[in-house]
């Protein structure tokens, strides 16, 4: 199955909940509301026509324009997109789904955004979601062990966010 067939199946099953993004260049994707993520995920995994049992990658993209010169040309509001790349090893097709999140879940910018964890569907999401949490500051609810994975446990900030400034020193060691 190619991308449009999979997305058609998804749209016929879920209706307006999923948003189709057809890209002219590169990958197209389907956008899913965050509270429907688990449901859609289970459908994608268990539907015999789709069988997207293999989760290649979970990652996030931080959309925040920090360059004031480019700000005028930027069409989007600041947000985070969590991207799931799925594939089926037996039917040999791939699929991309995305979930849009606010950068912070409150006004004061001290509560991380959250979305449900898919580690119950794909075990590989366990570590990959930890990585996203570590580097992007997205919390996954229902994750068995939500800790940092690449950075030390007491690291401050989430390095792959666009507004992240590296610390001058860490535990008495100069960083740069």
């Amino acid at each position: 199955m190619n991308f449009s067939e999979i997305s058609d199946t998804l749209i016929t099953h879920f209706g307006d909940l999923v948003l189709l993004h057809k890209a002219e260049v590169g990958d197209s994707w389907v956008e899913i509301p965050k509270d429907k993520l688990l449901e859609v995920g289970r459908f994608l995994k268990e539907n015999p026509q789709l069988q997207l049992t293999y989760l290649n990658s979970v990652t996030a993209v931080d959309y925040l324009q920090t360059d004031p010169k480019k700000l005028k040309r930027t069409s989007w509001e600041p947000h985070i997109k969590v991207v799931y790349h799925l594939s089926s090893l037996f039917l040999k097709h791939t699929f991309v789904i995305k979930v849009t999140l606010p950068r912070w879940s409150d006004e004061e910018q001290n509560r991380l955004p959250s979305l449900p964890s898919v580690s119950s569907l794909w075990s590989t999401a366990d570590w990959q979601e930890r990585e996203v949490f570590d580097l992007y500051g997205v919390e996954f609810t229902g994750h068995p062990d939500m800790r940092r994975i690449l950075c030390p446990d007491d690291w401050a900030g989430h390095p792959l966010r666009k507004d992240y400034t590296p610390p001058q020193e860490y535990e008495g060691i100069r960083c740069h």
Binding site: V25, S57, V61, D62, L89, W127, Q128, I149, P159
Partner: protein, 402 residues
């Protein structure tokens, strides 16, 4: 002794139990393949729980990628899987090319295939030798390095470097291979092919080796898929999937017209186009031995591929094209492409907002996913089995931590 501040409370609680012991393996340990740290809860010699801690080699390669143009990031891909840097270069180059929809010439594809398959051999050699070290025999490692050095000599002739090549770049390669290189490569393959038998004698069929690897760390098909395992770990579990055949058309085009087999067990046996040793009775599908064996057989398939590529490369007379510009403007869009690196499916993602510099770079590490299955495999095994299992996953910390 373990620093209590570095472990979470769960473990401290367990440490207080009388007959259980909490031990810390790594990050400086001979058999953790770099700076992997394993926190192991043991009852005597039996491991009851294992918890990998990674990140000691984290260099924020993805963050750096957001400040460099696509071609400038190539050296950073070298440093991910530094034992197979060519394949890392290829993965990123293809990702950039796919976003630009820039298909390279057929001759260049043959050249890249030749180089990457050599890289695969070199990487599997280290995997094989280091596995021997994990099991307590040092000699295979020296044999493997001896052969690998010859491959590195070839690479050095092609690009001047021996470890971090930065050879394959978006839109081409750094420079065409020099005159006479193919003959040297042929000579190497003629020398190397009969030697593989020695490795089978030294390790694959050695009685102690079988005792240490067979029926151990069995990874079922379902688990392998569930944990996103790839490469030899996936195929060692009996799943017939290789991106060189089943991957994105943009990547598999390289392998069009080549005759090679995906190494996977079919009906209790492996492809028989070469005098391989038989599968021993003790071995179970998905155990350490199968993962190791798949790697060994892939070396032979790579040799087959390289031999075919010589002729195809030489049959095209015109020179290869120049690579893309250093500050090549990228179209707005995103792309995610996986290639079959020696250690599994290395995925590169490129999210572009229309600048020469990518908005975001993603590197999906195959070893990262392969390693995540370790706690699953290491439940109830002996302490001495941990090196066997970690070694059979053939991890590369540079790639895991990025």
């Amino acid at each position: 002794m373990l620093d209590p501040t570095l472990i979470n409370n769960k473990n401290i609680e367990y440490d207080a139990q009388t007959n259980e012991m909490l031990i810390n393996m790594g990050p400086q340990h001979p058999s953790t393949h770099g700076v992997l740290r394993l926190i192991i809860r043991t009852d005597g010699e039996i491991v009851s729980e294992i918890q990998p801690h990674i990140g000691y080699l984290h260099r924020c390669a993805e963050k750096i990628g957001e400040h460099l143009s696509a071609r400038q990031w190539i050296p950073y891909t070298d440093r991910m899987d530094y034992l197979a840097a060519m394949n890392m270069n290829l993965g990123w180059s293809l990702t950039v090319e796919k976003l630009l929809d820039h298909q390279v010439s057929k001759k260049l594809q043959h050249l890249r295939l030749m180089i990457c398959e050599l890289g695969r051999i070199a990487s599997h050699l280290v995997g094989m030798g280091a596995y021997g070290l994990d099991l307590g025999t040092a000699s295979p490692f020296f044999y493997a390095i001896r052969e690998r050095e010859k491959i590195l000599d070839l690479f050095e002739k092609a690009c001047g470097a021996r470890l971090t090549f930065s050879y394959i770049t978006p839109g081409g390669v750094m420079a065409d291979i020099p005159e006479g290189w193919i003959d040297e490569c042929k000579a190497f393959l003629d020398y190397f092919e009969p030697i593989i038998k020695q490795y089978h004698t030294l390790l694959t069929t050695n009685a102690i080796f079988l005792k240490r690897t067979c029926n151990l760390g069995i990874l079922s098909k379902e688990k392998a898929i569930d944990y996103g395992c790839s490469g030899a770990v996936l195929r060692g579990s009996g799943i017939d999937y290789d991106l060189r055949r089943d991957g994105d058309p943009f990547y598999t085009e390289m392998y069009d017209g080549y005759d090679f087999e995906v190494i996977v067990e079919k009906e209790g046996d492996y492809p028989k186009d070469y005098p391989y040793p038989d599968v021993p009775r003790e071995a179970q599908l998905g155990d350490c031995w199968h993962r190791f064996y798949v790697r060994m057989l892939e070396v032979i398939q790579s040799i087959k591929l390289i031999r075919q590529s010589f002729e195809k490369y030489q049959s095209i007379p015109e020179p290869i094209e120049k690579p893309l510009k250093l500050q090549q403007k990228l179209p707005k869009g995103e792309i995610y492409l996986e290639t079959e690196a020696p250690r599994g499916q290395m995925g590169f993602g490129l999210f572009s907002e229309g600048d020469p510099i990518p908005w975001k770079v993603r590197a999906r590490s195959s070893c990262f996913c392969n390693l995540s299955v370790l706690p699953e495999l290491c439940r109830g095994v002996y302490l001495a089995d941990i090196p066997s299992i970690v070694g059979s996953l053939d991890i590369m910390m540079g790639e895991i931590d990025r």
